[in-house]
Structures are given as structure tokens and as C-alpha cells.
């Protein structure tokens, strides 16, 4: 078990998300940065679907009550064991009563704690990804206990040759495809989207990132249609909203762009006032 001494700003359990429940209106969810979350599982020799802890902006303080191995990836948040700095993207041996804590956020916005065998929270609809109305717990809370597999029989794999690509944490460029309503924009508006450096507004979370500035347009709403994480909607007031992992399954705003999978990972490491550019 892990005892949560401090939960951090916003920490959740995430995995690959829910597949097959969108037809009931259930969001996909899953780790915002799929690259970093899968990187910790790879380092630990876990299955891809093993659950990780997603931590946001400031890290938690956790006490491990059984030996295990962990790995940390994503945003640079100065992780420490018993007050001593530990390496990113490496498997770290944990002894009974070791305490994991974090320092200042230096770069990026979300980090991932992987643990051998994955976190054992209660799954709902085929996934452990926390989501209100679907899982019993929606956020990791102070003084709660989190289960994981004790490390006894498990071989401690080391994947030292795997190199983590940190450049995407810093990258401004988001690779996109044209969205279904892209061609309803005028040529000038289309070019404007790719010539503009957008800024992440203060409204950003696991559901969506709102961008600034707004753009003038005369597109009308569409008949409610499917959307996916990474869909960029254009609101009547001209704001671009990038839908993220916890987004609704359908929407009525024109869908002007669609982020690639890697661009969703990149954007999930951005915070208020960070700059981005769309690239076809």
C-alpha cells in the first residue's frame, strides 16, 4: 500500500482509458500525456494498460508501505526519495517506509509515477481512469491508501537503452490534420490559423484547453456530431478550444482541426500563457 501524505495539486489514477463506452456518452479519459505515461510502464516492464498516477503542476507526498520499483517521467518536478533527488526515466528501487516527494515544477505540467504491476484502484467500465460519475473516486485524497502489487516474484527489468525524448515537452509545434469543417473557413482564415501563435488561456484542464486570441469568422454551429480528444472547436465568439482526454463524445461547434496523438501529448504539458503553433 501507499499512504497519501499530501495529494498534490491534482492527482489521479490513469491508464489507457475506456474503449467501447463512447456510445453511452462516456468519455475516453486516460493519461493526458500518453507518451510519458507509457514510458514509465516500459521502463518497469509493465503491460501498457497498467495504471499510473498522473500528477499536475505540484507533486504529492507518498509513503510506500511495501518494497517495490517505481519510475517517474513527464514534467520536471524534482522528485526525491527521503529528501534526496532521484533520476527521471529510470527504475528506482523503493524500500518499506520510503517517502516520495516533489520540489518545484521546472518544465512541463504533468508527471507520471509508474509502479511495478501498476496501481490497483477499482476499475469501472474497463478502466481505472478516474472520472466523475464513473469511478467511485475522482481524485487522490490526503490520507487515503492506494494498492499496488508487492515486489517479490517479479523480475526487475531494466531498459536502460530506451531514450526518453524530452524535446516534445518544450516544443511549441502541434502537428494537426484538417478537421471536418476546416474547408468552411475562408482561405484567409485558414492561413491565419497557421500564422498565429496561440497562447493557452487560464481555462485548461483534462477536458479542454482554451486558446487566445479569438478569430473573426462566420461559421455557424453544426448538427451535433462526434468529437475526439484533440478536436479543435471554433466557438461562435471565435475562440479555439482544444478538446482533451476527458472531453464529451459529441459537440455542436465546427471542428476546424484535429491534433495528432503526439500533439495531444505535447499540449498536455502546457500551462497558462504557454505558446503554441499549429502545423499541418
Amino acid at each position: 500500500m501507499i499512504k497519501v501524505l499530501e495529494p498534490g495539486f491534482y492527482s489521479t489514477i490513469q491508464d489507457l482509458g475506456r474503449f467501447g463506452y463512447r456510445k453511452y456518452g462516456v468519455p475516453v479519459s486516460g493519461a493526458m500525456d500518453g507518451y510519458s505515461s507509457q514510458f514509465v510502464n516500459m521502463i518497469l516492464g509493465n503491460e501498457k494498460k497498467a495504471a499510473v498516477m498522473e500528477i499536475t503542476m505540484s507533486g504529492p507526498k507518498l509513503e510506500f508501505l511495501k518494497p517495490t520499483t517505481i519510475a517517474i517521467s513527464g514534467a520536471l518536478m524534482q522528485p526525491m526519495i527521503n529528501g534526496t533527488s532521484i533520476a527521471f526515466n529510470k527504475s528506482i528501487k523503493i524500500e518499506k517506509h520510503d517517502i516520495l516527494s516533489f520540489g518545484k515544477l521546472n518544465s512541463g505540467f504533468r508527471s507520471y509515477i509508474g509502479i511495478t504491476g501498476g496501481f490497483h484502484s477499482k476499475p469501472s467500465l474497463g478502466s481505472r481512469s478516474m472520472y466523475e460519475g464513473v469511478t467511485e473516486s475522482v481524485q487522490i485524497k490526503k490520507n487515503e491508501y492506494l494498492g499496488y502489487q508487492s515486489l517479490t516474484a517479479n523480475l526487475n527489468h531494466t531498459y536502460a537503452h530506451v531514450k526518453y525524448n524530452q524535446s516534445y515537452l518544450m516544443s511549441k509545434d502541434l502537428k494537426v490534420l484538417k478537421g471536418p469543417e476546416f474547408n468552411d473557413l475562408t482561405k484567409v482564415q485558414q492561413n491565419q490559423i497557421f500564422d498565429t501563435t496561440y497562447v493557452v488561456s487560464k481555462f485548461h484542464n483534462r477536458m479542454a484547453y482554451q486558446l487566445e486570441p479569438n478569430m473573426k469568422h462566420n461559421l455557424s454551429s453544426i448538427l451535433t456530431a462526434p468529437v475526439l480528444p484533440g478536436t479543435v472547436q471554433l466557438t461562435p465568439s471565435g475562440q479555439l478550444i482544444v478538446l482533451m482526454r476527458d472531453c464529451q463524445t459529441t459537440g455542436g461547434y465546427p471542428r476546424v482541426l484535429q491534433l495528432s496523438e503526439s500533439a495531444i501529448n505535447t499540449l498536455s504539458q502546457k500551462a497558462t500563457n504557454n505558446k503554441i503553433r499549429f502545423k499541418l
Binding site: F19, G20, Y21, R22, K23, Y24, G25, V26, P27, S124, L125, G133, V134, T135, L177, P180, I222, L223, T224, A225, P226, L228, G230, Q248, T249, T250, Q258, L259, S260, E261
Partner: protein, 240 residues
């Protein structure tokens, strides 16, 4: 009836198929035939199909190497649709309490559309509403068939909290809030029945293509149903 369909790559592992952009039961039927045909021809674990009024989104579990080949594959399937495919749609009777205690907006709404409360209930419980799809929130049904006499634009300022079970009208649509959420629709009643339960299989019994009809209940019946739900004695059952 043949519709002109548009196929596009939506992302690295999804294909969007679009029908003409109108709300029409014939289009829904066509979309659902295609949907069942896809579901019957692929392994469910590797594909997910979502529909809305005039679209079908096919999401593959893994990135597709050649999206054009997949589109060709889907186009071949469409031809096989000429064969008879039996869709068994269900009909559901849904209890709604229109008591003022559950209908926070009915007084104002009644004045704005110039229709008495009794008439609103009669008109609202008359049609068999067609379920086009589920979206917005887990278990939120998009229904077609609202009587035009009940049309009223959404509130300009949405409510921060619309209570779970609220039955409401927004623009040309009516719907039930499966959980408490912000919302801009006019609330005219409340449905005690749980429309989405993650512990049930499936979590939502009512599906695209089904029909529903509301029937009015009084407050005593409303609380009786809640009690029975609490004891797991109430199950929504479809009519044949």
C-alpha cells in the same frame, strides 16, 4: 434509399462517415444499419463505432497504416447493406413528475410559450420520441420528435446546477439530465429513473434507434419509485 456519403480520415486511427446534415429518421436508420454491419464484421475489441444525427465515427484501437485501404474496406461493407438487416428497436415508458417542486422553470416557460401547464404536460407526454444517439453526458439521450409548440430557445445564461433527473426543453429538443450538471435548458419535470449506472451491464439500457414516451406521475409515485430503485426492485423494462 441511397444517400451520398462522405468518408474522411478523422485522425490516425479514426474514419468519419457523413450523411446529409439534417435530422431525419430515415438517415438515422441508414446510419444504424451501417453501424450494425460494421460491428458484425469486425471484432468488437478492436473497433468502436459512435453515431450522431448525420455521422458515424469509426475508431480503431490501433493506428492505421493505410487509411485509404480501411475506407475501401468500409465502402465494400456499405454495399452489403442492401441485404435485409433486422434492427430490433425497443420502446421505453419513462415516468416524469411534472410537479412544481421538480419543475423550477415551468411557470416562466409556460408564460413564454403561452401554453398552460396542463397543456405542456399533455403535449410533452404525447409523442414517441426517437433516440438518435447518446452524448453530452454519460447517458444523455438526444431525442427527436418534440412538438413545435414546445420549442423555446435555451436560456441566455445557463444554470450552474441542473439537478439529476431533470427533464428539460432546449431549443427544438427535449432531454433528461442523467446527472447534475450546468445547463441552459428549461426544466419542466424530473425523472426518478437512473438512466446511467456504471455498475450495470450495459451502463445505459436505452440505445440509438429506440423510442421513448414520457408518462406523468405524482409526487407520491415519484418517491415510491425512488424507494423501489433503492431496494433494487425497480427495473426499467422495454415494451415489445
Amino acid at each position: 434509399m441511397a444517400f451520398k456519403l462522405k468518408y474522411t480520415a478523422y485522425n490516425e486511427r479514426s474514419i468519419l462517415i457523413e450523411w446529409p446534415a439534417i435530422i431525419d429518421e430515415k438517415i438515422l436508420k441508414n446510419i444504424l444499419l451501417f453501424k450494425y454491419s460494421i460491428e458484425n464484421n469486425f471484432i468488437k475489441q478492436t473497433i468502436e463505432v459512435v453515431n450522431a444525427y448525420n455521422s458515424l465515427l469509426i475508431i480503431y484501437e490501433h493506428t492505421i497504416d493505410n487509411i485509404n485501404n480501411k475506407i475501401k474496406e468500409l465502402k465494400t461493407l456499405n454495399w452489403s447493406l442492401n441485404g435485409e438487416l433486422n434492427i430490433k428497436n425497443k420502446h421505453w415508458a419513462i415516468p416524469v413528475c411534472y410537479d412544481n417542486d421538480f419543475a423550477q422553470d415551468i411557470e416562466k416557460y409556460s408564460k413564454e410559450i403561452n401554453c398552460s401547464k396542463a397543456d405542456i404536460i399533455t403535449i410533452h407526454t404525447q409523442p414517441k420520441y426517437r433516440v438518435f444517439f447518446t452524448g453530452f453526458l454519460p447517458g444523455f439521450l438526444y431525442l427527436g420528435g418534440l412538438d413545435p409548440r414546445l420549442f423555446l430557445d435555451r436560456k441566455s445564461v445557463p444554470n450552474l446546477k441542473v439537478k439529476k433527473g431533470s427533464v428539460a426543453i432546449g431549443g427544438k429538443q427535449t432531454g433528461i439530465y442523467p446527472k447534475s450538471s450546468p445547463g441552459g435548458w428549461h426544466v419542466i419535470g424530473n425523472c426518478p429513473v437512473e438512466l446511467f449506472n456504471p455498475k450495470s451491464h450495459p451502463p445505459c439500457q436505452i440505445e440509438a434507434g429506440d423510442t421513448i414516451q414520457f408518462y406523468g406521475i405524482d409526487k407520491a409515485e415519484y418517491y415510491e419509485i425512488l424507494e423501489r430503485i433503492d431496494k433494487s426492485e425497480f427495473n426499467l423494462k422495454p415494451n415489445a
